[in-house]
Symmetry: C2
Subunit: 307 residues, 2 copies
């Protein structure tokens, strides 16, 4: 999807949040805000929020000198969710449709503020996800698409959440699928990297592949050839979270977006309320007229994003 003007104040807010995580030095926080504000006029809005977010976080890294501000947070989140795995597995085992339940849990995992979460909070989130159910009307379409091949390309999102993804991958493997689990090409925000995937044992179940994207989501312009090749040949791609949606919603590919709607812009794109958990095929989105499709030749292309 294209970047909305509403994303610009949000970039500034996110940069401040990241700078605060790195240091308590207000002068650094201020420096980050000023540098990010100064690049805003150069950002080509024809690009996706992922491509622009990548630029913003590059500026933050350069200003703070810290490469991976969320390193400890990611480790902690992975540990916290992993500690709840037996409980999560029981919820799945006792459900009528194990894959559907795993998908719902994984979408709920996308929404948990892990900074606050202990098993007891996860229990609430699990209960909510299973009872509410979300907008999963395209699940039968997903199953049909699954039957079309042996391979599944799974696009991971955040650390911690990746443990929930493991549960979905377990269900896919049980159905005889070969799963490739893609993660970011370098640390950005709390997004999962190869290190996180290995840490939670994803490599025991699936082939772990770095997409190459160094943005806060997957945008094809940022990915390495090996990933692009898998993407181009996939019969079904399960894309997790808002970041991957923002980078890929306009792509003509067998994509299924599993996410919780968390911001007004994504809510507008999906025509859904904030807070909704959903599994949406890209087909339906593309048919709706691609209104959020990034311009291929953005008339306002600046020098902010290197493609």
């Amino acid at each position: 999807m294209r970047t909305y003007l509403d994303c610009l104040p949000c970039f500034l807010r996110q940069a401040l949040e990241t700078a605060r995580r790195v240091t308590g030095d207000v002068e650094v926080h201020r420096g980050v805000l000023h540098r990010v504000a100064s690049v805003i006029p150069d950002l080509p809005l024809g690009a996706t929020p992922i491509e622009l977010g990548r630029e913003i976080h590059r500026v933050v890294r350069e200003t703070t000198g810290v490469d991976d501000p969320y390193r400890e947070v990611k480790r902690r989140d992975n540990d916290r969710v992993a500690a709840c795995l037996p409980e999560l597995r029981r919820a799945i085992a006792s459900s009528q449709d194990r894959l559907l339940t795993a998908l719902k849990l994984a979408a709920a995992g996308n929404a948990i503020d892990l900074a606050m979460a202990a098993c007891v909070d996860l229990r609430g989130a699990i209960k909510g996800a299973l009872e509410d159910g979300g907008e999963m009307t395209e699940y039968p379409l997903f199953l049909k698409q699954l039957d079309r091949g042996e391979d599944v390309l799974y696009l991971g999102d955040n650390a911690g959440e990746i443990v929930f993804d493991r549960l979905v991958v377990e269900q896919l493997v049980e159905r005889g699928k070969r799963v490739t689990f893609a993660v970011r090409g370098r640390p950005i925000l709390n997004d999962a990297t190869v290190e996180d995937a290995r840490y939670v044992g994803m490599d025991d179940l699936a082939e772990v592949l770095a997409s190459g994207s160094d943005g806060p989501g997957t945008a094809l312009s940022l990915c390495v050839p090996e990933f692009l090749d898998r993407f181009g040949h996939a019969t079904v791609i399960l894309s997790k979270g808002q970041g991957n949606f923002e980078g890929l919603s306009h792509e003509d590919a067998p994509l299924f977006f599993l996410l919780k709607v968390k911001c007004p812009v994504v809510a507008a794109e999906l025509e859904m309320d904030i807070g909704t958990i959903t599994l949406r095929s890209s087909g339906g989105l593309l048919e709706r007229g691609k209104r959020g499709r990034p311009m291929t030749e953005p008339k306002d292309a600046g020098r902010g994003v290197q493609r």
Copy 2:
């Protein structure tokens, strides 16, 4: 209070919102965002958010060429609340402490999204304000301060809300007080001006005085001598809404802030939760160490704000 770094993304968001109100032309929206982003590094954070907000809205006005984007909204809001006056008066008349009830209603009026409000919504807000009650523990202190003189300086906030303020002024007049009702010196956001005060008949009850402030709140640096003279000699000043709080919370004056806490920064300053309705004396705030006091000689003073 001083400006927090958190205010900067919020300035950008507010500028976009205002630009959208003026025109549907995305290029203008974009131009506004770019110009506001470009002045951010020059903003002296030692100033109050009101002084900086004034600069932001000056940039918006200059970019859009529209002097009073909220003109129609203000008229509509004044009309909507005025239509509910009989109902509001009944709620006050049937209450145990009419002044306290009027104060609570006026604080609730500060929070209603009038863009959506009809009498039926106001009824809900009234009910909520009267039942919840808010943090009004300093009301006895306010009464005591009222007894110290015949005059009350009342600092108004938004259009629409000013009709609720009328109800408080009615109670003050009933208690034999002479009220000066201060409004902004020029249109900014949906803040009440002399035009609004006259439109809702405030001039029948009180002397209406333009403070001179052309920021989205009252900051003494922006006010005219006549207002400053009243302010300096007042025995009690009732200050309405977040904007006036942001501009005056550090001033050593007999101020009582009547507001609903709406943003994280004001919540931090008041050490209260977002959503709380309160009447707070400046005395207690000053005693708490003036931690949010703007620097008198901001070390980072730039050229953004002309004092």
